[in-house]
């Protein structure tokens, strides 16, 4: 806000509704127009030269950015309390864009091992082709991470919370390791969101989001974002302009619109996540629940110290169930819909074994901590009692017959 009399920064919803937007917009509309332009025109040759000499801040060609993106980038940067943000066409596009910018052949990166399987796949199968080595250390083992650092190490990476194990990284400790060795740190904070934690304030250098999830919030768009200092982001933005993973103005408008209810939605996701986790923990058919808000969670202490809420994602293990009996629970839900992704208004449910790790060998799955009886539920915005009732009936009604036939699972 421009109000000079306001001593304190604006509240979260005020920021998410107004930050990054011009107070007076073209045609005086209350909302930002969707600018569907592939290119931007110049008045004359001098204005082209002024743009090239960076005397003018404006659009040139759609692949380098568009007005809808600028608004969203400023909003996300303000919410994360970072200097700048760069938005991409998807979460993976932002991860790839960042890694391709920061790493050269011969470099190494270190990952905490619980991470999104496509991030892992990109590093192991593709970065490796360009001579970049990825070292993985056990999540939360800070000594192992530090021990893995050598002169080739260029980036330390983790998710927090991790997916689907919901492990929480001690962000201060993680950032300190990076600072001690002069290596940038990156946190994928998709599951936390700036409503629950702001990694930059803990000294982390870069924050990444799949904005497809809580930021968009309605399961109807794809987007990714990286937040950090202007210096770090400048080459990242430049490479994005070359690689072209820019988002569309239509999508960006939906993302901007989604951000306006960010706080209300996150409050509800946090509430639903905690209530569902508590319910599951007390259910006789549930062996274990992974949710940082539960006292039983291994990272509960650091989670409560650093986070104001724990989101809508809950992972649980069905007691004494094989993968088919587990699938029967998933299939018996009526409100939750079977789909990958998370963070939208609709509750989604999936069995990681089937949804993301079906092609893996049992040994691989074991190494990733994916068990046959694991279910991940991404609580949406529905009434808490409806979600609890739905899970209750699914756990009760599915106990007898498996819902899937013979299959070529490894």
């Amino acid at each position: 806000m421009t109000n000079e009399q306001t001593p304190t920064p604006p509240g979260f919803s005020t920021t998410s509704i107004h930050a990054g937007e011009q107070r007076e917009k073209p045609s005086h509309s209350i909302t930002d127009p969707i600018v569907c332009a592939s290119t931007y025109t110049f008045r004359d040759t001098q204005s082209v030269i002024d743009y090239i000499e960076q005397k003018q801040d404006r659009g040139e060609y759609g692949r380098y950015g568009n007005p809808n993106e600028w608004v969203v980038e400023k909003k996300i940067a303000a919410l994360e309390q970072g200097e700048e943000a760069v938005v991409y066409s998807s979460g993976m596009a932002s991860m790839v864009g960042l890694l391709m910018t920061l790493l050269n052949s011969g470099d190494e990166i270190i990952f905490f091992d619980e991470c999104y399987h496509r991030s892992r796949e990109f590093c192991n199968s593709h970065l490796a082709r360009f001579g970049v080595r990825t070292r993985q250390v056990k999540t939360g083992d800070y000594a192992a991470m530090e021990a893995a650092i050598n002169e080739k190490t260029k980036l330390l990476v983790s998710e927090s919370p991790t997916n689907p194990h919901m492990s929480i990284v001690d962000l201060d400790r993680f950032a300190t390791i990076g600072k001690r060795h002069g290596i940038p740190t990156l946190i994928d904070a998709t599951l936390a969101t700036p409503f629950n934690v702001r990694p930059l304030n803990h000294g982390v250098d870069l924050v990444m989001h799949s904005a497809t999830k809580y930021m968009g919030g309605h399961n109807d768009l794809l987007a990714g974002a990286i937040v950090g200092s202007k210096n770090l982001l400048e080459p990242i933005r430049n490479l994005r302009g070359i690689m072209g993973a820019i988002n569309s103005p239509h999508n960006l408008y939906l993302l901007e619109r989604g951000l306006k209810t960010f706080e209300l939605r996150m409050q509800r996701h946090n509430e639903n996540g905690l209530a569902v986790a508590r319910f599951l923990e007390n259910h006789p058919r549930v062996e274990k629940v992974l949710y940082p808000g539960l006292e039983s969670h291994p990272y509960h202490e650091i989670a409560t110290e650093t986070m104001s809420g724990f989101g809508g994602l809950v992972t649980f293990y069905v007691k004494d169930a094989d993968w088919k009996e587990t699938a029967a629970v998933v299939d018996a839900t009526k409100i939750a819909r079977i789909a990958p992704s998370l963070g939208g208004s609709e509750t989604l449910i999936e069995q990681p074994l089937v949804m993301s790790y079906f092609q893996c060998t049992p040994e691989q799955r074991q190494s990733f901590g994916i068990t046959d009886n694991m279910i991940r539920i991404a609580c949406g915005l529905e009434n808490t009692s409806d979600l609890v009732t739905d899970l209750d009936q699914a756990l009760s009604s599915s106990s007898v017959t498996p819902s899937v036939s013979e299959s070529a699972i490894k």
Binding site: I30, T31, T261, E346
Partner: protein, 380 residues
């Protein structure tokens, strides 16, 4: 399923063809038919469109109706309902109604020979006095606009039934989160879906919801014949908005209640109109009829006249000067010169819309930021 679950799921079935969790947006004018003389579920988008139908299904569930129709704007929906009337028919409309509805009744419907009397719908005696042999319909808003009067909908419907009148309620300000007029005996609920239902100031739309399926068919006939249907793009955005309707309404109510108390205590404020204040004349009806809150709209008179009111509406920095209401961002406006300028001046003054009146649409920003802004504007 409870309200919020229905607002997310009813009418939003997953796409059977692709499994898409959000139903696709059907930007199509026409639909290919199976054979000559055979019609599929949809044939032409003026008659029906899947994206529009999804929204209609959702709102019918939320308003406890049997069906709904989506129009191009709130006024198109109001006009849709008015087309039920014939030349010679008479309507009783509330005195605290949207300026556009006043204009439609007095300056458009009159051309078709439909006459209108304005009556205070909060008092049955006033309705009795306006009743004519030709009276066919009552049109009311609760909360009213801009004075936030509360009509006892159930009582009004009971009286209207005894006179064989249709009752139509503009439920734009309450939304089905707070009040569901069909459950209280109303025949038609009208919405400007542009407001709270859409909730983001980025779509125009109107809705009619009814209990009786014959009435629905009649209204659908009129809509199809006259063509003021909602665009699928707007239907998509409004459906998306409805998924957070309850969350937003609770926050609107919470913030507005705090601001109403704040303004009520402010030395530069003459009077505050908010159904949640103890001083509101229909406070107890509001308490029974509105569930869990008194809405996000409030009006107040500043001490002085037009220039004092103008000074305030020109001085806010967070509250933006614009007509419309019901969205995430806070708006401020001056009814006499803006939302209710289409009233005749005498009627405006007669019904209490004076020049010092200011109307707020309280958004969902942080309450301290909102209060600070009003405070600095009033203290200038």
């Amino acid at each position: 399923m409870k309200f919020r679950t229905r607002s997310i799921h009813v009418g939003n079935q997953r796409d059977l063809q692709t499994g898409a969790v959000v139903p696709p947006l059907y930007a199509t004018s026409t639909f290919v038919q199976p054979a000559a003389g055979e019609f599929g579920e949809f044939d032409y988008s003026r008659t029906g469109n899947p994206t529009r139908k999804n929204l209609e299904t959702t709102i019918a569930s939320l308003e406890s109706g049997t069906g709904a129709l989506a129009f191009a704007s709130g006024m198109a929906a109001t006009h849709g309902a008015m087309m039920l009337l014939r030349s010679g028919d008479h309507v009783i409309a509330g005195t605290d109604i949207y300026g556009g509805t006043y204009r439609l009744l007095h300056k458009v419907c009159d051309q078709s020979g439909v006459t209108v009397s304005l009556a205070d719908t909060t008092a049955i005696a006033s309705l009795e006095k306006s009743l004519q042999p030709a009276t066919k319909m009552i049109w009311l808003e609760s909360p009213g606009n801009p004075l936030l009067s509360i009509t006892d909908i159930q009582k009004c419907c009971q009286w209207a039934k005894s006179k064989n009148l249709l009752v139509a309620v503009d439920n734009t300000l309450a939304t089905p989160v707070l009040t569901r007029p069909l459950e209280l005996g109303a025949d038609i609920v009208q919405h400007s879906a542009t407001k709270y239902l859409g909730g983001h100031s980025d779509a125009l739309g109107g809705l009619l919801v009814v209990r009786d399926s014959e009435l629905l068919q009649r209204l659908h006939f009129l809509q199809n014949a006259t063509g003021a249907v909602m665009s699928p793009w707007d239907a998509f955005l409004i459906s998306r908005g409805i998924k957070t309707l309850e969350l937003r309404m609770r926050q609107h109510c919470q913030n507005a209640a705090i601001l109403a108390e704040f303004l009520d205590q402010h030395p530069r404020v003459q009077r505050v109109y908010y159904p949640g204040l103890d001083t509101h004349p229909q406070r107890s009806v509001a308490g029974q009829q509105m569930q869990g809150g008194f809405g996000g709209m409030l009006s107040f008179e500043v001490k002085g006249g037009f220039s004092q009111a103008k000074q305030v509406v020109d001085s806010t920095e967070l509250f933006q000067l614009a007509v419309s209401l019901g969205a995430v961002e806070s708006l401020i406006e001056h009814p006499a010169s803006m939302s209710h300028a289409s009233y005749d001046r005498e009627d405006r003054l007669k019904y209490g819309i004076n020049d010092s009146l200011i109307r707020l649409s309280v958004g969902i920003e942080n309450i301290e930021d909102q209060q600070h802004d009003l405070s600095q504007a009033l203290n200038r």
